[in-house]
Amino acid sequence: MTVVETAGNRLRWLLRGLGQLLITAGVVVLLFCVYELKVTNLYTEQQQKTLDTQLAREWAAPPPSPVGKPGQVHLAAFDDGAGIARIYLPTLGRDQVHVVVEGVTHEDLKKGPGHYPGTAVPGAVGNMVVSGHRTTYGAPFNRLDELHPGDAVVLETRTFFYTYRVTGTTIVSPDALGETDPVPNHPGQVATQRLLTLTTCNPKYSARTRLVVRALLEAPLAKGKGVVPPALQGR
């Protein structure tokens, strides 16, 4: 009898251990969800606040050299991860403003939407490419799919507001590097248009494809006291 009881005890001990292990695993997975959906947002929020303050301070100081014409930004002066411009998506809501950082590494994108090094600067001839998170780290491009042709995307630099109008949305494969060409998907051609390309992952919580929103510069507007581009009025 004692042998049977010992075997039963051992089984009970094993099952209890297994049960505790499974419950622990479940709690860890839940904690991971909390981390991804909440904690990453807190991180980005704090980073964006810091970047925004830095930008405001930089822009308040006199420019390093005369900056007169639209599309002139001294990107050479920016380090990876530094803020280079503000991006507004006014049709998605008043709060839809983010600081764009230089670079698209994992670390850069944790701070905010990232500008592909080497692509055009705000307002310049060519193709400015910006990528951003869809679901975590503040999810700046969460609702990019809701942008329709004609919707405004505004970039703010030290000296100008650049209002771009969305021309179209496409779904591409993750290796569609042609989207970053100065003339998209025509490598080697010389650009004449001033384009802005926004990319994010698609569908949400997946990386099967990329969502690409393309916009064309409508008008640059020199900044000044009380100057607000029409697309941002009423904010």
Binding site: G17, Q20, L21, T24, V28, L31, F32, Y35, E36, V39, T40, V104, T105, H106, L109, G114, Y116, V129, S131, G132, H133, R134, T135, T136, Y137, F141, V172, S173, P174, D175, A176, L177, E179, T180, T199, T200, C201, K204, Y205, S206, A207, R208, R210, V212
Partner: protein, 61 residues
């Protein structure tokens, strides 16, 4: 597992409870600060750029 830990915590009940909280906090901190950031970079939904090979799990840019 948990009963084993509980049995091996020293001190009276109140002290044990305190120790339990510290242990829990340490476990959560380890997960949030070390484990999750690493796991996350292996997951697909932080891939937002268009310069990746389609069939690699690599999280780089």
């Amino acid at each position: 597992m948990y009963s084993w830990i509980w049995r091996h915590l020293p001190g009276p009940l109140a002290v044990r409870l305190g120790e339990l909280v510290v242990l829990l906090a340490a476990a959560v901190a380890l997960l949030f600060l070390v484990v999750f950031p690493r796991v996350e970079s292996l997951l697909p939904y932080s891939d937002v750029t268009v310069n990746q090979q389609p069939d690699t799990a690599s999280p780089s840019p």
